[in-house]
């Protein structure tokens, strides 16, 4: 999609915010859920207790705030840019998540997983490089 020049700067800026806040949010959610522990008891009262604990966790709320900022940036950019333009541009988020998981949570990322993440990013970029509209305007 060719964006008018006046839209270019704000589009790049908002997509950058999306990649940062989106991946930071996911990493913070993992941090919170790790503290809460694996959900393994499916009885309603146990699930409710887990639900309560989830929403008393600071990391979860920070994660939600970060994802909310992601979502606002996403809504704004979608009001002028195509979904098929925005979606692949946010593919860098997959790489950020792996890097942040490794740096902030000390997750062990095997080399094959790094390769996998890179292949995913290339795949998403290819999907996005194709014409955004293949059907007639209705």
């Amino acid at each position: 999609m060719k964006l008018p020049h006046r839209l270019h700067g704000k589009t790049i800026f908002l997509i950058g915010l999306m990649a940062i806040f989106g991946s930071l949010g996911d990493v913070l959610l993992r941090k919170g859920m790790k503290q809460i522990g694996a959900v393994s008891n499916w009885r309603p009262d146990a699930l409710l207790a887990t639900f309560e604990r989830t929403f008393r966790s600071g990391s979860i709320w920070l994660g939600i705030s970060s994802l909310l900022l992601f979502f606002i940036a996403y809504l704004l950019v979608l009001s002028w840019a195509d979904y098929s333009y925005v979606q692949p541009a946010s593919a860098t988020g997959y790489l950020f998540v792996a890097v942040l998981g490794y740096l902030l949570l000390g997750e062990v990322v095997p080399w094959m997983r790094w390769v996998g993440v890179l292949v995913i990013c290339i795949g998403v970029l290819l999907v996005g490089g194709t014409p955004p509209r293949t059907t007639e305007e209705g």
């Binding site: 990493v27 790790k34 009001s79 979606q87 997959y94 949570l105 996998g116 795949g123 996005g128």
Partner: protein, 124 residues
Amino acid sequence: MTARDAAFLFIVIFGGTSGELAVTHTMKRVGEVQSFYPHHLLRVILRAFRSGWMWFGLALMTISFFSLLMLLSWENVSFVVPVTALSYVLGAFGGKFLLGERVEPRRWLGVALVCLGVLLVCVG
């Protein structure tokens, strides 16, 4: 990856993708955001929330969100989030078979690479 992980991944991917499409539909109708003053932004957001599609999209995204939380209680984030890229595969097939879009070879190649990448992440 266990069957339980796979089931929750399916909910995350399917709910998330359909929710995003519903929200996109809403924002296209609301129109381009041109002013970033808080009171103008608030007005745009309030207008978006008067649309039924917005609420439908948000409901799907909420279900997807809680499934993601469950997954993240079991697995590393550097595993879970890359695997959710399978939503591109769902998008391509949904576009072709539900919306009648012509999915060109380069897009299929991208979809195949995403699948290969997810496979590597799962094996790694």
